[in-house]
């Protein structure tokens, strides 16, 4: 569509096709995620943003096409090679996916305990540091059931960062955060990216925040990349689709509805008209 971002990309996706049942989610999508940058991915709810992250992480298999991460074809890797690759990725799940039988502290410590032999004192320092970054150091004793939705997501964020990954995939990190926390998270993601040189994929519905921190944006809809470019380029994009999506208007080329039968079928409108008592 538009120019591919410069620099050797970390992730390259070629002609990715994926369907759920009879519903085609991606139709020969190609895109690339640059190294050391924040790449925003936006699109209507249900387009497949989460699905895309799961395809990149190798949790789902494409019907056709390839996903290359750092020169490795994710879906042709052996299980152990895939696990080695995943140790270098952090993923913040949309719904947190915290381990409910562990405390906040143990959740963040989990990847460290599983993959390193660090002494307990070091683990403690690392975990408290990560929790401090998301503002939850004081909550380390809490059980996961005692967290609010926004807190749980921040714990999950701390856990995704525990192993200092090279690539972090944030699936809607801003949802359910108050404006202050949101500002902190935006700056945190930017800072991590710049200070540690990691590459980030940011899936978000918060237009203003995403525009403010992303270096590059992809807009997905109906199984395709609708637009891509820098935030400035996207904002300047005159296409009705992009304008409608960015400004949140209900009418326009972007369907607000999940594919559905015509209204009169679902509501039996013809029958109402034919009713002979009225």
């Amino acid at each position: 569509m538009s120019a591919v971002p410069s620099g050797e990309p970390l992730i390259e996706i070629h002609n990715l096709t994926f369907s759920r049942g009879s519903r085609l989610i991606f139709d020969r999508v190609s895109l690339s995620i640059p190294r050391g940058k924040i790449t925003g991915i936006m699109g209507p709810s249900g387009t497949g943003k989460t699905t895309l992250l799961k395809l990149i992480g190798g949790q789902l298999r494409p019907d056709a096409g390839e996903v290359w991460v750092d020169g490795q074809n994710v879906h042709s890797l052996s299980r152990s090679a895939l696990f080695a690759l995943r140790k270098r990725m952090g993923m913040l799940f949309q719904h947190g996916a915290l381990l409910t039988d562990l405390s906040v502290f143990e959740n963040v410590a989990f990847p460290l305990r599983e993959h390193t032999c660090l002494p307990e004192s070091m683990i403690r320092d690392l975990v408290l540091m990560k929790l401090n970054a998301v503002g939850l150091r004081g909550a380390h004793d809490l059980h996961t059931a005692e967290l609010s939705g926004g807190m749980a997501r921040r714990v999950a964020l701390a856990r995704a960062l525990a192993l200092d990954p090279e690539l972090v995939m944030f699936d809607e990190p801003f949802t359910g955060q108050d404006p202050m926390t949101l500002g902190v998270l935006v700056r945190l993601i930017r800072k991590l990216n710049d200070a540690l040189g990691l590459s980030s994929i940011l899936v978000s519905h918060d237009v203003a925040e995403t525009l403010s921190i992303a270096d590059h944006l992809y807009l997905l809809a109906e199984g395709r990349v609708i637009a891509s470019g820098t935030p400035a380029a996207i904002q300047a994009d005159a296409s009705p689709w992009v304008q409608q999506f960015m400004q949140g208007m209900a009418d326009g080329p972007v369907p607000f509805h999940y594919p559905a039968a015509p209204l009169q079928d679902d509501f039996h409108l013809p029958k109402v008209q034919e009713c002979d008592r009225c």
């Binding site: 915290l98 039988d101 989990f110």
Partner: protein, 259 residues
């Protein structure tokens, strides 16, 4: 008529597919089992959940079964004038049959259902997927320790069940009905064979442990990740484990105790 055939066909296909997934699960879990032994802490945690938390129901049930065996055994034996054999009757029925079988049935209801529900919930809240993304194999980290704990717990619970049952029989027989205390114990000592009875009983409960843990873990791992799916899987665990235990018991009894 056609719709009946169609439904029958779908049911057959579905059970074949389940059987296939069962084998896949087995093949995936087998290589994960040895490495889980290297992390005994995880197994000990599960021993607590599966074993210690089942103690109450096992002890109470064992005591009542012993009491009933004492009453029934006495009333039958007394008609033949051999009430002093009460100890053997109680001990043998417990060690050979009732201990392993009833323990396994209670285990399915108490611990197996909990295992399935726990695993199913972990699946439906993406905890297992989350682990996978952290490069942690849930089969090794979650499933295998629970499997070992189930296999280890079952014989211990069955032994406790039988032990409590023998004392229950003693309480009724000796305490209430006047059987001689010395002959109650000495008959047990002389008639219960270590190899024929005790080892075979332990063997049975080991097999039941494998079956119960396997079924519970498979159902949880395989469940439809919704609230309804988890509840169905839990029910299936209890039903399938019970049937498997009774079927296996028949086969093993036929092989072990040549009549």
């Amino acid at each position: 008529m056609l719709s009946v055939l169609g439904r029958l066909g779908r049911a057959v296909l579905e059970s074949l597919a389940r059987l296939g997934r069962w084998f896949v699960f087995m093949l995936a879990l087998l290589p994960a089992l040895p490495s889980a032994l290297l992390r005994p802490r995880l197994i000990v945690d599960q021993l607590y959940h599966l074993g210690v938390l089942s103690l109450q129901i096992i002890l109470v049930a064992g005591a009542f079964v012993g009491l009933v065996l004492g009453l029934q055994g006495y009333s039958i034996l007394a008609t033949y004038g051999s009430a002093e054999s009460l100890g053997v009757v109680v001990a043998l029925s417990l060690v050979r049959e009732l201990g392993p079988v009833l323990t396994a049935l209670l285990f399915a209801g108490r611990a197996g259902s909990a295992l399935t529900a726990e695993l199913g919930l972990m699946k439906s809240t993406e905890q297992l997927a989350g682990m996978e993304m952290m490069a942690v194999d849930p089969l090794k980290r979650v499933v295998a320790p629970r499997f070992w704990a189930g296999v280890i717990t079952m014989p211990l619970l069955a032994a406790l069940f039988s032990l409590v049952g023998v004392f229950g029989g003693y309480a009724i027989g000796v305490g209430l009905l006047g059987v001689d205390s010395g002959s109650y114990w000495s008959q047990i000592q002389s008639q219960v064979d270590f190899f024929d009875d005790i080892v075979n009983g332990v063997l049975k409960s080991l097999v039941f442990g494998v079956a119960a843990a396997w079924i519970a873990l498979f159902e949880g791992y395989d469940c439809v990740p919704t609230a309804e799916g988890v509840s169905r899987a839990t029910t299936r665990t209890v039903v399938n484990t019970s049937l498997a235990v009774l079927g296996l018991d028949f086969i093993m009894t036929a092989l072990m105790f040549d009549v």
